[in-house]
């Protein structure tokens, strides 16, 4: 009665020699020992493996794991007009880093960013592959703005660019599109900017299911506004955002949700029955049949074996919730 989805990124290497193939390929590429084609081949093998892991676990809506992404910001920004990619900056509280985009002129969409990657992933997955894009508020918040001077017009142009990308993804066949706005957990005051941007993006989603996902914290202050977001699903981090759970369990949600209840930042395994019980407390308050259960954010911050375990826990919890219901 509740389906399962992942949020986006996934560990690209594991402990075994086979699972380190991409690390070796990148090292050889950096030394000039292999070319771009061979590197791409190595990447694609990992994408296939990541999709296989999700399909075998029985996840209903999967993702390509963002295996080819350097990070969540530069992978999207680097293909937009007027963007340069600069040095490393710490990414939220994750102890990982992203290459910071610098914007020196009006941002524009000039070419597809994720379409080929999405097509390849979908061709290698039984389950529908969700196309995941970093949202305009988060992209603008983590970039250096040398052109706009104000966040408003910057977010607006980014949203227009992302809308074109979403149109291209939908034309290619994507039925699930997700916009990630982790910045909302840190800067809730920017919610109206984020939602205006999302409105632009939503205009090109066609028949696809559009999810707005916030993670790395709680969103109680803006929960009401998020309920009115122009998206079909609202994704919530209910682990780091435990406060959001507190509000949700009291007031419910008009909008169907992606319930990020599986801790994607900690190795400790959840008991699937406990998670199932927690989900079922929302019965009558949330349209569970239209909602999904998910990790609290992408699984990349865990070692590969632990990420696999979390996938199993996720599916087991959803099954228990279905049986108990």
């Amino acid at each position: 009665m509740v389906r399962t989805a992942v949020v986006g990124n996934y560990p690209r290497i594991g402990v075994s020699v086979e699972e380190q193939s991409l690390r070796r390929a990148i090292a050889r590429f950096d030394k000039g020992e292999v070319g771009e084609l061979q590197l791409q081949e190595a990447e694609r093998e990992v994408v296939k493996a990541v999709l296989r892991e999700q399909n075998e676990a029985g996840i209903d809506v999967v993702a390509d794991g963002q295996i080819t992404w350097y990070d969540s910001q530069s992978h999207i920004a680097r293909k937009l007009a007027s963007v340069e990619i600069n040095g490393l900056v710490r990414y939220f509280d994750t102890n990982t880093y992203y290459r910071q985009p610098i914007v020196r002129g009006p941002v524009r969409w000039t070419q597809p960013i994720l379409v080929d990657e999405w097509k390849f992933a979908q061709a290698n997955s039984r389950a529908p592959v969700k196309a995941v894009l970093t949202g305009p508020l988060t992209l603008s918040t983590l970039a250096v703005d040398k052109h706009y001077g104000k966040k408003g017009p910057f977010v607006k142009d980014l949203a227009s660019a992302l809308a074109e990308e979403v149109a291209a993804l939908v034309a290619a066949g994507a039925t699930h599109v997700q916009i990630d706005e982790p910045a909302l957990t840190l800067y809730p005051k920017d919610v109206s900017l984020a939602l205006e941007g999302l409105d632009t993006i939503a205009s090109s989603k066609g028949a696809a299911t559009l999810t707005l996902f916030t993670y790395f914290g709680e969103v109680t202050k803006i929960f009401k506004e998020l309920q009115a977001a122009p998206a079909d699903l609202l994704g919530l981090d209910l682990v780091q955002g435990a406060k959001t759970w507190g509000l949700l369990s009291k007031s419910g949600s008009e909008k169907p949700l992606v319930l990020g209840l599986i801790d994607a930042r900690n190795t400790k395994p959840e008991d699937p029955r406990t998670v199932a019980k927690q989900v079922l407390t929302l019965k009558g308050k949330v349209d569970l049949a239209s909602s999904y259960l998910s990790p609290s954010n992408g699984l990349e911050f865990l070692p590969r074996d632990k990420a696999r375990e979390k996938l199993r826990i996720l599916v087991a919890a959803a099954k228990h919730a279905g049986v108990a219901a």
Partner: protein
């Protein structure tokens, strides 16, 4: 009066032979004893280099450490080490997992401190990875609360600090690179570092880097240490104005070398940075060092950067008729 004393943050690059040896040891092709001997050799080389160029407060260079959190966790009971997680690009590291109550097996870094201190008459820094960073960079399967895990680390690391002092350390540095990750947890960090440094009669330092200093500024004077060690050149020295308005009541180790750049800063540029710092801080309050550990640079780059740093500090001292206070 001592002025503009030069020092380093902690890590130095490992020489090629040590990198190869570590890879061999990881595969089981080199014994722990053989690896240890090479780590000692590299440490001795770095101490000699620091003596040669005249650094006032040397460090052991952390030739024996992989990741700074994992190294401490490996020596603490109640943790296991995870599989690989990505830091950025093609760089991965192993994270500690707390699986049980944390307990100290024995001193962690004291033997290395002793080894390094024997090689020089200058005071070598004792180096501790701070409790907040240990907590933030570990998975927790036991405590279930960031505060509890953090304070548990703090109590153990206090024992480590006491052991370093008893071994003769005159200066103890607590590294907290995770300091600025969650602003709402700064009171926890202050409390935890306070536990580590409680009752120590040594000089204490807190090092942090690559954070949003403006958000944490009001905490600087509350940190329970004698000296703050801050990355200043990477952030474009823009904090200086704020220090002018809101004076620091502690000593400051002022980062004048960008550790993420291959470019070796010319002496004149470093002099300029020190001169700027001198417009805000008293000479006896001001220490000169790189922004952060130099381990990601090559040995040659790191040495060239340090050499220029010491030359620049010396030139500024001379220009202002200051001495290092070392006779």
């Amino acid at each position: 009066m001592s002025a503009l004393l030069t020092t380093s943050v902690g890590s130095f690059p490992k020489p090629e032979y040590l990198i190869r040896a570590r890879a061999k040891a990881a595969k089981g092709d080199l014994s722990a004893k053989e690896l240890h001997a090479l780590e000692e050799k590299a440490t001795a080389e770095w101490i000699r280099f620091q003596e040669e160029i005249g650094i006032d407060i040397p460090v052991d260079g952390e030739q024996y450490r992989g990741d700074m959190a994992t190294y401490f966790a490996e020596n603490i009971e109640g943790t296991v080490i995870s599989g690989l997680v990505r830091s950025y690009g093609n760089r991965y590291y192993k994270k500690p997992i707390i699986t049980d109550e944390l307990r100290l097996r024995g001193p962690i870094s004291v033997d290395w401190f002793r080894f390094a201190q024997k090689l020089t008459k200058k005071p070598v820094k004792g180096m501790i990875t701070g409790p907040y960073t240990m907590m933030d960079w570990s998975f927790d399967e036991y405590y279930g609360s960031r505060e509890e895990a953090c304070l548990a680390f703090a109590r153990l690391l206090h024992q480590e600090a006491v052991a370093l002092r008893d071994a003769g350390a005159k200066i103890i540095q607590v590294d907290e690179p995770a300091l600025s990750t969650r602003f709402d947890e700064l009171p926890l960090l202050v409390k935890a570092v306070g536990i580590v440094t409680q009752g120590l009669d040594t000089k204490t330092i807190l090092h942090t880097c690559y954070g949003n200093y403006n958000e944490i500024f009001e905490y600087f004077n509350k940190l329970p240490v004698d000296q703050l060690d801050l990355e200043m050149s990477n952030s474009g020295l823009d904090l200086l104005d704020r220090f002018k308005r809101e004076p620091l009541k502690k000593e400051i180790a002022f980062g004048v070398i960008d550790v993420h750049s291959h470019v070796v800063e010319p002496v004149d540029l470093i002099r300029e940075r020190i001169e700027k710092a001198l417009t805000i801080f008293r000479p006896d309050q001001l220490y000169i060092d790189p922004d952060c550990g130099l381990k990601t640079r090559t040995v040659e780059e790191a040495q060239a950067k340090l050499r220029n740093m010491v030359t620049a500090a010396r030139a500024v001292r001379e220009a202002h008729h200051l001495t290092s206070g070392k006779g």
